[in-house]
Symmetry: C2
Subunit: 407 residues, 2 copies
């Protein structure tokens, strides 16, 4: 084997320009939704209930589209809202609403509550942290386990501190670890006692149908479990078609208890006369039904599963027997999480950058961009073509080997 | 002439179901944008700069679309943002941003400013009031004149009171009076001294190209006048295609100083990865250029000008010589404002409702739904077909006559 320093010099000399930073669909994935670009088609604008989708109105979104997604998101269709193109915006605006108007069950608006904090399981999704940082909501970290957030720790934190108003969750194929929350974790989150009467679970089910294997994993139904525990207003469920149809031109969803939905509709009616219902119709015509959605996601799987397999193969070849180096092999979602010995993650990212391989900054999976262990690297293998994934990962392997050798 | 009471009984007996409540485009107007429903078309997704509009990103919106609207909105294209389907949402979110993060020039976030108040010229647009009412921003009314808000009164209010942080303006073909702000009013609003260093003009140029006559009225350039007066950050310009293309599936715009736009982009980057750029491309392909936009608006004019003419004709026939009854005959926009003697507006609306003619609630043109004179009725003649407009207005005439006879 070439020594790591020489291999790294050769890597730099190759002059690569490769990018594994963000969970973006590839052109081939976007091509799967080619037909959307010509839909609904001239003369097609009536919804199933005869609504003219072109005109104003309809804050809940188009019923036939909500019906397609209600089973996947485990929300009754009457409590599921379809909105514009970004579920991140729905989540952000939900917290804005909570800051400026009391959520059902809240003693005050959160801007009047003094400190407001959310629990952030780590590693997690940088944009969730960004929303809280921007809105002045503190983040309290708890570690992720193979079954979801460390629930003992979550229960301990929320039991006594009424300033902890919520928790961020990506319950299926989590970003970046690919963790699927166990039924027991979901049950405990839904039912645990909280000091805050207005505690909320931000249930970002971003990868509800994004399976990488034919084992189409299911998770427990958080809304039902919460209602059965006497906490019907606790979960706020989010989803979107950003990684199903078109990343920038899809549809987002929000589901919750009727009280939460009524509250949301009342506040949202002050800021918009309704979402883009033509885009809802376009999506309903394209996906057709739950079976159509499932078939469409199988086509995505065929395109991206080989990329994830390549990442796993190259890491296994290099590090199967290396203590301190491990990685996830997720059954769904958009990310592989690579763990290196403490203190090396940012060095690996730096070395990769100098060799023309862009990786997500090492701290991005933690609040405020700071991973105290400096050990987690998030890899996003969907966007580049397979051959680029292979070249990029060979380069990452070289960078990890160099960093290890210099310890 | 039949006596008013008998005429009203006959009107009720006719069993009408007519609606003049909201400024919605008619089906025929929406049909003008039929081609949008099939655009951009399969395989069409590249922007002029080769961006794949289907994927994430591009917070400023598609440049070629912004170029088409920059002249109409009098904003340099580099300072004009194209967003999703609702300019009301842009306005609402702008005030949310200002509440939660200091605007350029602000000493504090507005949530920390104690009282925050906006000036509302009356009569005005109920949804503007709704945004402020929902966000806890007080409304201070000033009367509209034929040239715009009473600028003496505005100058007096803002000179000494730092809690007055802004003013709502619909500067061209105002809702509901159809007033066009004079150059002098625009200049004074842009240059007047304000006690608040973070004073903002919410410049809702909703009807920038919505001419009802071939006299395509122009207004003064508020951004340039403000910059020349040393107040570059004062105006926030808004617009949309809701009444140009598809009311629920259009594109909204925001323009301002570079400092304001940078501030907005920074905050908005925390809530979305970008707007629906496919819809931007769809609109750019459909409208093509400034000339295409102008021709499209001329087609709207042909459809709706006869409806406004019918309203004017029926009111003239009935009330040309009636003291205390007057109405506007606007050169653009979406509304006719009917003024009746003090105390009669809500009675007319009630009589019309009982006869099956829905009118906007009498107080809607004033903050908190209360018109102290109870004299203004907003008529929206775009949605119903011409024959329904004629029947509805004949009914309104009867209701006004009955209300007058009972005084």
């Amino acid at each position: 084997m070439t020594d790591p320093a020489t291999a790294y010099e050769e890597l730099k000399a190759a002059g690569l320009t490769l990018d594994l930073t963000r969970g973006k669909p590839s052109s081939e994935q976007l091509d799967l939704s080619q037909a959307l670009l010509g839909l609904p088609g001239a003369g097609e604008y009536r919804a199933a209930d005869d609504t003219d989708t072109r005109n104003y109105g309809g804050l809940m979104g188009l019923p036939e589209l909500r019906e397609i997604f209600a089973p996947a998101l485990q929300v009754p269709v009457g409590q599921l809202v379809a909105s514009n193109n970004a579920s991140l915006e729905l989540m952000h605006d939900m917290l804005v609403h909570a800051l400026l108007s009391p959520v059902p069950g809240a003693p005050t608006r959160w801007v009047e509550a003094g400190r407001v904090a959310f629990i952030a399981p780590v590693p997690g999704y940088d944009r969730h942290y960004g929303v809280c940082e921007r809105l002045g909501i503190d983040l309290v970290t708890v570690p992720m386990t193979a079954d979801g957030p460390d629930t003992d720790e979550v229960e301990r934190l929320v039991a006594d501190d009424p300033s902890i108003k919520g928790i961020w969750c990506v319950p299926k194929y989590s970003n970046p670890d690919g963790v699927v929350y166990s039924d027991e974790v979901v049950r405990r989150l839904a039912s645990m006692p909280t000091a805050a009467p207005d505690f909320r679970i931000m249930w970002d089910n971003a990868y509800a149908v994004h399976h990488l294997t034919t084992d189409e994993v299911e998770i427990a139904d958080v809304l039902t479990l919460a209602a059965e525990s006497g906490n019907p207003d606790r979960p706020l469920v989010f989803g979107s078609t950003s990684k199903i149809t078109l990343a920038g031109a899809g549809v987002s969803f929000f589901g919750a208890s009727q009280a939460n939905v009524d509250w949301w509709v009342k506040l949202t009616s002050k800021k918009t006369i309704g979402p883009d219902k033509v885009n809802h119709l376009r999506h309903a015509l394209f996906l057709r039904d739950t079976a159509g959605l499932r078939a469409h996601m199988a086509a995505h799987r065929e395109l991206i599963a080989p990329k994830f397999a390549a990442v796993d193969r190259l890491l296994t070849e290099a590090f199967a027997d290396t203590e301190g180096v491990s990685w996830t092999n997720p059954k769904g979602g958009y990310f592989v999480s690579l763990t290196v010995p403490d203190g090396l993650a940012s060095e690996v990212v730096r070395l990769a950058k100098e060799a023309g391989i862009a990786l997500t900054p090492a701290g991005a999976t933690h609040p405020y961009g700071k991973d105290p262990q400096d050990a987690t690297i998030r890899l996003a293998p969907t966007l580049p073509p397979l051959d680029e994934i292979e070249r990029a990962m060979a380069g990452v392997v070289t960078c990890v080997q160099l960093a290890l050798s210099r310890r």
